[in-house]
Symmetry: C2
Subunit: 210 residues, 2 copies
Protein backbone atom coordinates (compact mmCIF):
# COMPACT_ATOMS: atom_id res chain seq x y z
CA UNK A 1 0.00 0.00 0.00
CA UNK A 2 1.56 3.32 -0.98
CA UNK A 3 1.95 5.97 1.67
CA UNK A 4 0.53 8.62 -0.62
CA UNK A 5 -2.06 8.77 -3.38
CA UNK A 6 -2.27 11.68 -5.81
CA UNK A 7 -5.26 13.32 -7.44
CA UNK A 8 -5.55 16.63 -9.26
CA UNK A 9 -7.78 19.48 -8.11
CA UNK A 10 -7.63 22.79 -9.90
CA UNK A 11 -4.12 23.99 -10.59
CA UNK A 12 -2.35 22.05 -7.83
CA UNK A 13 -1.76 18.38 -7.24
CA UNK A 14 -3.51 17.08 -4.16
CA UNK A 15 -1.49 14.47 -2.32
CA UNK A 16 -2.99 12.11 0.22
CA UNK A 17 -1.02 10.95 3.24
CA UNK A 18 -2.49 7.66 4.37
CA UNK A 19 -3.41 7.20 8.04
CA UNK A 20 -0.39 6.97 10.36
CA UNK A 21 2.04 7.84 7.55
CA UNK A 22 4.12 10.87 6.50
CA UNK A 23 5.45 12.68 3.45
CA UNK A 24 8.58 14.72 2.73
CA UNK A 25 8.81 17.38 0.01
CA UNK A 26 10.53 20.59 -1.05
CA UNK A 27 8.87 23.98 -0.95
CA UNK A 28 10.17 26.93 -2.93
CA UNK A 29 9.91 30.42 -1.54
CA UNK A 30 6.52 31.85 -2.49
CA UNK A 31 4.77 28.52 -2.86
CA UNK A 32 1.71 27.93 -0.72
CA UNK A 33 1.27 24.71 1.22
CA UNK A 34 -2.39 23.88 1.84
CA UNK A 35 -2.96 21.22 4.51
CA UNK A 36 -6.44 19.72 4.44
CA UNK A 37 -8.23 17.47 6.91
CA UNK A 38 -10.42 15.52 4.46
CA UNK A 39 -12.51 13.64 7.02
CA UNK A 40 -12.25 15.84 10.13
CA UNK A 41 -10.71 15.55 13.63
CA UNK A 42 -7.26 14.55 12.32
CA UNK A 43 -3.94 16.10 13.38
CA UNK A 44 -1.01 16.72 11.01
CA UNK A 45 2.49 17.47 12.35
CA UNK A 46 4.66 19.81 10.26
CA UNK A 47 8.42 20.31 10.47
CA UNK A 48 10.78 22.17 8.13
CA UNK A 49 14.41 23.07 7.48
CA UNK A 50 15.97 25.70 5.27
CA UNK A 51 16.82 23.83 2.06
CA UNK A 52 20.52 22.99 2.11
CA UNK A 53 21.07 24.24 5.67
CA UNK A 54 19.53 22.09 8.40
CA UNK A 55 21.08 24.33 11.07
CA UNK A 56 18.04 26.51 10.30
CA UNK A 57 14.82 24.80 11.39
CA UNK A 58 11.29 25.52 12.57
CA UNK A 59 11.28 26.91 16.14
CA UNK A 60 8.24 26.84 18.38
CA UNK A 61 10.04 28.88 21.04
CA UNK A 62 10.87 31.73 18.68
CA UNK A 63 7.45 31.67 17.00
CA UNK A 64 5.45 31.78 20.24
CA UNK A 65 7.70 34.52 21.65
CA UNK A 66 7.37 36.75 18.58
CA UNK A 67 3.63 36.12 18.21
CA UNK A 68 3.05 36.70 21.92
CA UNK A 69 0.42 33.97 21.97
CA UNK A 70 -0.12 30.24 22.02
CA UNK A 71 -2.55 29.76 19.11
CA UNK A 72 -1.15 30.85 15.76
CA UNK A 73 -3.64 31.49 12.95
CA UNK A 74 -4.22 33.62 9.84
CA UNK A 75 -1.69 36.44 9.60
CA UNK A 76 0.78 34.90 12.05
CA UNK A 77 4.34 33.90 11.21
CA UNK A 78 6.27 30.69 11.90
CA UNK A 79 9.92 31.45 12.61
CA UNK A 80 13.13 29.48 12.39
CA UNK A 81 15.58 29.19 15.28
CA UNK A 82 17.70 31.95 13.70
CA UNK A 83 14.66 34.27 13.75
CA UNK A 84 14.11 34.18 9.99
CA UNK A 85 10.49 33.80 8.90
CA UNK A 86 9.75 30.35 7.45
CA UNK A 87 5.98 30.49 6.90
CA UNK A 88 3.16 33.04 6.84
CA UNK A 89 -0.25 31.60 7.69
CA UNK A 90 -2.42 32.90 4.84
CA UNK A 91 -5.60 31.05 5.72
CA UNK A 92 -7.00 28.93 8.53
CA UNK A 93 -10.56 27.65 8.76
CA UNK A 94 -10.02 26.14 12.22
CA UNK A 95 -7.94 28.46 14.42
CA UNK A 96 -6.70 25.91 16.93
CA UNK A 97 -3.32 24.27 16.45
CA UNK A 98 -0.60 23.25 18.88
CA UNK A 99 2.99 24.47 18.91
CA UNK A 100 4.13 23.27 22.35
CA UNK A 101 4.60 19.49 21.95
CA UNK A 102 7.06 17.22 20.21
CA UNK A 103 5.63 14.73 17.70
CA UNK A 104 4.32 11.45 19.08
CA UNK A 105 7.03 8.80 19.24
CA UNK A 106 7.53 5.16 20.14
CA UNK A 107 8.81 6.23 23.57
CA UNK A 108 5.84 8.55 24.07
CA UNK A 109 3.41 5.66 23.62
CA UNK A 110 5.42 3.60 26.09
CA UNK A 111 5.78 6.38 28.70
CA UNK A 112 2.28 7.90 28.57
CA UNK A 113 0.22 4.83 27.63
CA UNK A 114 2.39 1.85 28.68
CA UNK A 115 2.15 0.62 25.10
CA UNK A 116 3.88 -2.69 24.35
CA UNK A 117 5.42 -3.40 20.94
CA UNK A 118 5.81 -1.16 17.92
CA UNK A 119 3.44 1.79 17.47
CA UNK A 120 3.46 3.98 14.35
CA UNK A 121 4.42 7.54 15.27
CA UNK A 122 4.78 10.99 13.79
CA UNK A 123 8.43 11.11 14.86
CA UNK A 124 9.27 7.94 12.94
CA UNK A 125 7.25 9.13 9.93
CA UNK A 126 8.99 12.52 9.96
CA UNK A 127 12.37 10.80 10.22
CA UNK A 128 11.59 8.59 7.22
CA UNK A 129 10.16 11.50 5.24
CA UNK A 130 13.25 13.64 5.85
CA UNK A 131 15.94 10.94 5.64
CA UNK A 132 16.35 11.60 1.92
CA UNK A 133 17.48 15.14 2.80
CA UNK A 134 20.09 13.76 5.21
CA UNK A 135 18.13 14.72 8.32
CA UNK A 136 18.77 12.64 11.45
CA UNK A 137 16.18 11.91 14.16
CA UNK A 138 17.66 14.29 16.75
CA UNK A 139 17.23 17.21 14.35
CA UNK A 140 13.43 17.03 14.61
CA UNK A 141 12.17 19.23 17.44
CA UNK A 142 8.77 20.54 18.48
CA UNK A 143 6.48 20.41 15.45
CA UNK A 144 3.66 22.71 14.37
CA UNK A 145 0.82 20.34 15.16
CA UNK A 146 -1.89 21.41 12.74
CA UNK A 147 -5.46 20.82 13.99
CA UNK A 148 -4.15 19.51 17.37
CA UNK A 149 -6.39 20.86 20.12
CA UNK A 150 -4.14 21.40 23.14
CA UNK A 151 -5.03 23.93 25.82
CA UNK A 152 -4.04 24.68 29.40
CA UNK A 153 -6.28 25.48 32.33
CA UNK A 154 -5.39 28.42 34.62
CA UNK A 155 -3.20 26.14 36.75
CA UNK A 156 -1.32 25.07 33.61
CA UNK A 157 -2.77 21.57 33.38
CA UNK A 158 -2.73 20.36 29.78
CA UNK A 159 -5.85 19.15 28.02
CA UNK A 160 -5.79 17.40 24.64
CA UNK A 161 -9.28 17.68 23.18
CA UNK A 162 -10.79 16.44 19.93
CA UNK A 163 -9.54 18.51 16.97
CA UNK A 164 -11.98 21.26 15.98
CA UNK A 165 -11.42 20.51 12.27
CA UNK A 166 -14.38 19.28 10.25
CA UNK A 167 -14.13 17.50 6.87
CA UNK A 168 -12.53 19.87 4.36
CA UNK A 169 -11.03 22.31 6.85
CA UNK A 170 -7.59 23.58 5.93
CA UNK A 171 -4.59 25.75 6.73
CA UNK A 172 -2.62 27.64 4.05
CA UNK A 173 1.04 28.44 4.69
CA UNK A 174 3.20 30.53 2.38
CA UNK A 175 6.86 29.49 2.24
CA UNK A 176 9.11 32.47 2.97
CA UNK A 177 12.30 30.57 2.11
CA UNK A 178 13.22 27.44 0.13
CA UNK A 179 12.62 24.51 2.46
CA UNK A 180 12.72 20.81 3.10
CA UNK A 181 9.41 19.90 4.76
CA UNK A 182 7.67 16.92 6.23
CA UNK A 183 4.05 16.42 7.19
CA UNK A 184 2.21 13.54 8.83
CA UNK A 185 -1.21 12.05 9.37
CA UNK A 186 -0.84 11.73 13.16
CA UNK A 187 -0.59 8.27 14.70
CA UNK A 188 -1.76 9.04 18.25
CA UNK A 189 -5.18 7.71 19.27
CA UNK A 190 -5.53 10.34 21.98
CA UNK A 191 -5.08 13.30 19.63
CA UNK A 192 -7.47 12.24 16.85
CA UNK A 193 -10.67 11.22 18.66
CA UNK A 194 -9.67 7.56 18.66
CA UNK A 195 -9.41 6.99 14.91
CA UNK A 196 -6.70 7.37 12.28
CA UNK A 197 -7.56 9.27 9.14
CA UNK A 198 -5.65 10.61 6.13
CA UNK A 199 -4.33 14.11 5.60
CA UNK A 200 -4.31 15.81 2.18
CA UNK A 201 -1.99 18.57 1.03
CA UNK A 202 -1.52 20.74 -2.03
CA UNK A 203 1.42 22.87 -3.13
CA UNK A 204 0.35 25.95 -5.06
CA UNK A 205 2.73 28.06 -7.10
CA UNK A 206 2.59 31.78 -6.35
CA UNK A 207 0.31 33.83 -8.57
CA UNK A 208 2.18 35.37 -11.53
CA UNK A 209 3.57 38.85 -10.91
CA UNK A 210 1.40 41.64 -12.38
Amino acid sequence: MPAMQNSTRGAAIRTRIDPQRGAGFRLRRGQILKVIDPQGEQVSDLFAFRAGDPRCYLSSGRSLDYAGKLYLTTGDLLYANDSEVMFTILGDTVGRHDFTLTPCSQRMFEILYAHKGHHPSCHQNLCEALAGFGIQPHQIHTTFNIFMNVWFDPEGRMKVDVPRSKAGDSVELRAEMDMWCALTACSAEGSNNGTFKPIDFEIHDPPPAV
Copy 2:
Protein backbone atom coordinates in the same frame (compact mmCIF):
# COMPACT_ATOMS: atom_id res chain seq x y z
CA MET B 1 35.42 42.07 35.67
CA PRO B 2 35.06 38.30 35.87
CA ALA B 3 31.80 36.75 34.77
CA MET B 4 31.68 34.64 37.91
CA GLN B 5 32.75 35.02 41.52
CA ASN B 6 33.04 32.08 43.87
CA SER B 7 32.35 31.81 47.55
CA THR B 8 31.93 28.75 49.74
CA ARG B 9 28.76 27.91 51.62
CA GLY B 10 28.53 24.66 53.48
CA ALA B 11 29.72 21.68 51.48
CA ALA B 12 29.27 23.14 47.99
CA ILE B 13 30.90 25.99 46.14
CA ARG B 14 28.51 28.84 45.39
CA THR B 15 29.22 30.44 42.04
CA ARG B 16 27.89 33.85 41.08
CA ILE B 17 26.90 34.64 37.51
CA ASP B 18 27.14 38.40 37.05
CA PRO B 19 24.19 40.27 35.53
CA GLN B 20 23.68 39.58 31.83
CA ARG B 21 26.32 36.83 31.81
CA GLY B 22 26.39 33.02 31.67
CA ALA B 23 28.32 30.00 32.89
CA GLY B 24 29.03 26.53 31.48
CA PHE B 25 29.84 23.49 33.60
CA ARG B 26 29.68 19.71 33.80
CA LEU B 27 27.24 17.83 35.99
CA ARG B 28 27.75 14.22 36.94
CA ARG B 29 24.80 11.88 37.35
CA GLY B 30 23.53 12.19 40.91
CA GLN B 31 24.84 15.70 41.53
CA ILE B 32 22.33 18.35 42.52
CA LEU B 33 22.32 21.74 40.82
CA LYS B 34 20.86 24.45 43.05
CA VAL B 35 19.96 27.66 41.21
CA ILE B 36 19.44 30.63 43.52
CA ASP B 37 18.00 34.08 42.84
CA PRO B 38 20.06 36.09 45.37
CA GLN B 39 18.23 39.41 44.99
CA GLY B 40 14.83 38.36 43.65
CA GLU B 41 12.86 38.81 40.40
CA GLN B 42 15.68 37.50 38.20
CA VAL B 43 15.34 34.85 35.46
CA SER B 44 17.96 32.18 34.73
CA ASP B 45 17.88 30.17 31.48
CA LEU B 46 19.11 26.56 31.66
CA PHE B 47 20.14 24.30 28.79
CA ALA B 48 21.88 20.92 28.82
CA PHE B 49 23.29 18.16 26.66
CA ARG B 50 24.26 14.60 27.47
CA ALA B 51 28.03 14.76 28.11
CA GLY B 52 29.81 13.59 24.98
CA ASP B 53 26.63 13.29 22.88
CA PRO B 54 25.03 16.60 21.90
CA ARG B 55 22.43 14.75 19.83
CA CYS B 56 20.76 14.32 23.23
CA TYR B 57 19.57 17.64 24.63
CA LEU B 58 16.94 19.20 26.88
CA SER B 59 13.47 19.11 25.26
CA SER B 60 10.63 21.35 26.30
CA GLY B 61 8.21 19.54 23.97
CA ARG B 62 8.90 16.13 25.48
CA SER B 63 8.93 17.44 29.06
CA LEU B 64 5.61 19.29 28.80
CA ASP B 65 3.99 16.34 27.04
CA TYR B 66 5.09 13.81 29.67
CA ALA B 67 4.27 16.12 32.59
CA GLY B 68 0.89 17.03 31.10
CA LYS B 69 1.27 20.58 32.33
CA LEU B 70 2.94 23.90 31.65
CA TYR B 71 4.48 24.70 35.05
CA LEU B 72 7.04 22.15 36.18
CA THR B 73 7.93 22.09 39.87
CA THR B 74 9.02 19.78 42.71
CA GLY B 75 8.74 16.13 41.68
CA ASP B 76 8.57 16.83 37.96
CA LEU B 77 11.08 15.57 35.39
CA LEU B 78 12.91 17.39 32.61
CA TYR B 79 13.36 15.12 29.60
CA ALA B 80 15.76 15.01 26.69
CA ASN B 81 14.61 14.83 23.07
CA ASP B 82 15.23 11.06 23.11
CA SER B 83 12.86 10.72 26.09
CA GLU B 84 15.60 10.01 28.64
CA VAL B 85 15.25 11.85 31.95
CA MET B 86 17.85 14.62 32.35
CA PHE B 87 16.76 16.27 35.62
CA THR B 88 14.44 15.63 38.53
CA ILE B 89 13.23 18.77 40.28
CA LEU B 90 13.94 18.01 43.93
CA GLY B 91 12.99 21.39 45.36
CA ASP B 92 11.37 24.63 44.23
CA THR B 93 10.50 27.55 46.51
CA VAL B 94 8.79 29.50 43.68
CA GLY B 95 6.70 27.18 41.48
CA ARG B 96 6.55 29.33 38.39
CA HIS B 97 9.03 28.80 35.59
CA ASP B 98 8.72 28.92 31.81
CA PHE B 99 9.42 26.11 29.37
CA THR B 100 7.84 27.48 26.19
CA LEU B 101 10.24 30.19 24.97
CA THR B 102 13.68 30.28 23.41
CA PRO B 103 16.35 32.31 25.24
CA CYS B 104 16.46 36.04 24.53
CA SER B 105 18.72 36.85 21.59
CA GLN B 106 20.08 39.81 19.65
CA ARG B 107 17.37 39.27 17.02
CA MET B 108 14.68 39.04 19.69
CA PHE B 109 15.57 42.48 21.01
CA GLU B 110 15.47 43.82 17.44
CA ILE B 111 12.18 42.15 16.49
CA LEU B 112 10.18 42.65 19.68
CA TYR B 113 11.68 45.92 20.93
CA ALA B 114 13.22 47.55 17.81
CA HIS B 115 16.53 47.63 19.69
CA LYS B 116 19.46 49.22 17.84
CA GLY B 117 23.03 48.05 18.40
CA HIS B 118 24.35 45.16 20.43
CA HIS B 119 22.29 43.84 23.37
CA PRO B 120 23.60 41.17 25.75
CA SER B 121 21.44 38.06 25.49
CA CYS B 122 20.96 34.65 27.05
CA HIS B 123 21.44 33.01 23.66
CA GLN B 124 24.86 34.59 23.20
CA ASN B 125 25.81 33.81 26.80
CA LEU B 126 24.72 30.18 26.41
CA CYS B 127 26.69 29.92 23.17
CA GLU B 128 29.83 31.25 24.84
CA ALA B 129 29.33 29.06 27.91
CA LEU B 130 28.94 25.91 25.78
CA ALA B 131 31.50 26.68 23.07
CA GLY B 132 34.19 24.87 25.04
CA PHE B 133 32.14 21.68 24.67
CA GLY B 134 31.98 22.16 20.89
CA ILE B 135 28.34 23.26 20.91
CA GLN B 136 27.22 25.51 18.06
CA PRO B 137 24.52 28.20 18.31
CA HIS B 138 21.87 26.25 16.35
CA GLN B 139 22.07 23.42 18.90
CA ILE B 140 20.52 25.57 21.64
CA HIS B 141 16.74 25.23 21.64
CA THR B 142 13.97 26.21 24.03
CA THR B 143 15.50 26.62 27.49
CA PHE B 144 14.10 25.88 30.94
CA ASN B 145 13.62 29.48 31.99
CA ILE B 146 13.91 29.31 35.76
CA PHE B 147 11.89 31.97 37.64
CA MET B 148 10.46 33.34 34.33
CA ASN B 149 6.79 34.16 34.87
CA VAL B 150 5.04 33.44 31.58
CA TRP B 151 1.35 32.61 31.47
CA PHE B 152 -1.43 32.51 28.89
CA ASP B 153 -4.95 33.84 29.18
CA PRO B 154 -7.89 31.65 28.03
CA GLU B 155 -7.52 33.01 24.48
CA GLY B 156 -3.85 32.01 24.52
CA ARG B 157 -2.43 35.54 24.76
CA MET B 158 0.99 35.46 26.42
CA LYS B 159 1.76 37.53 29.50
CA VAL B 160 5.28 37.96 30.87
CA ASP B 161 4.96 39.10 34.47
CA VAL B 162 7.52 39.95 37.12
CA PRO B 163 9.21 36.78 38.42
CA ARG B 164 7.66 35.52 41.65
CA SER B 165 11.10 34.78 43.13
CA LYS B 166 12.18 36.70 46.21
CA ALA B 167 15.76 37.07 47.42
CA GLY B 168 17.11 33.61 48.29
CA ASP B 169 14.51 31.58 46.42
CA SER B 170 15.89 28.53 44.65
CA VAL B 171 15.31 25.46 42.51
CA GLU B 172 17.14 22.17 43.04
CA LEU B 173 17.64 19.83 40.09
CA ARG B 174 19.18 16.35 40.34
CA ALA B 175 21.20 15.31 37.30
CA GLU B 176 19.97 11.96 35.99
CA MET B 177 22.83 11.61 33.48
CA ASP B 178 26.29 13.11 32.99
CA MET B 179 25.75 16.46 31.30
CA TRP B 180 27.21 19.60 29.81
CA CYS B 181 25.13 22.50 31.16
CA ALA B 182 24.86 26.22 30.80
CA LEU B 183 23.00 28.74 32.93
CA THR B 184 22.49 32.51 32.57
CA ALA B 185 21.54 35.59 34.48
CA CYS B 186 18.93 36.75 31.97
CA SER B 187 19.60 39.87 29.89
CA ALA B 188 16.01 40.85 29.00
CA GLU B 189 14.62 43.95 30.69
CA GLY B 190 11.04 42.78 30.15
CA SER B 191 11.51 39.48 31.99
CA ASN B 192 13.29 40.77 35.11
CA ASN B 193 11.21 43.76 36.25
CA GLY B 194 13.47 46.19 34.43
CA THR B 195 16.74 45.45 36.21
CA PHE B 196 19.59 43.01 35.72
CA LYS B 197 20.71 41.02 38.71
CA PRO B 198 23.08 38.11 39.33
CA ILE B 199 22.20 34.43 39.62
CA ASP B 200 23.99 32.07 42.02
CA PHE B 201 24.37 28.33 41.70
CA GLU B 202 25.79 25.45 43.69
CA ILE B 203 26.67 21.91 42.67
CA HIS B 204 26.16 19.41 45.47
CA ASP B 205 27.55 15.90 45.38
CA PRO B 206 25.04 13.16 46.14
CA PRO B 207 24.86 12.02 49.75
CA PRO B 208 27.06 8.99 50.41
CA ALA B 209 25.33 5.64 49.99
CA VAL B 210 24.30 4.04 53.30
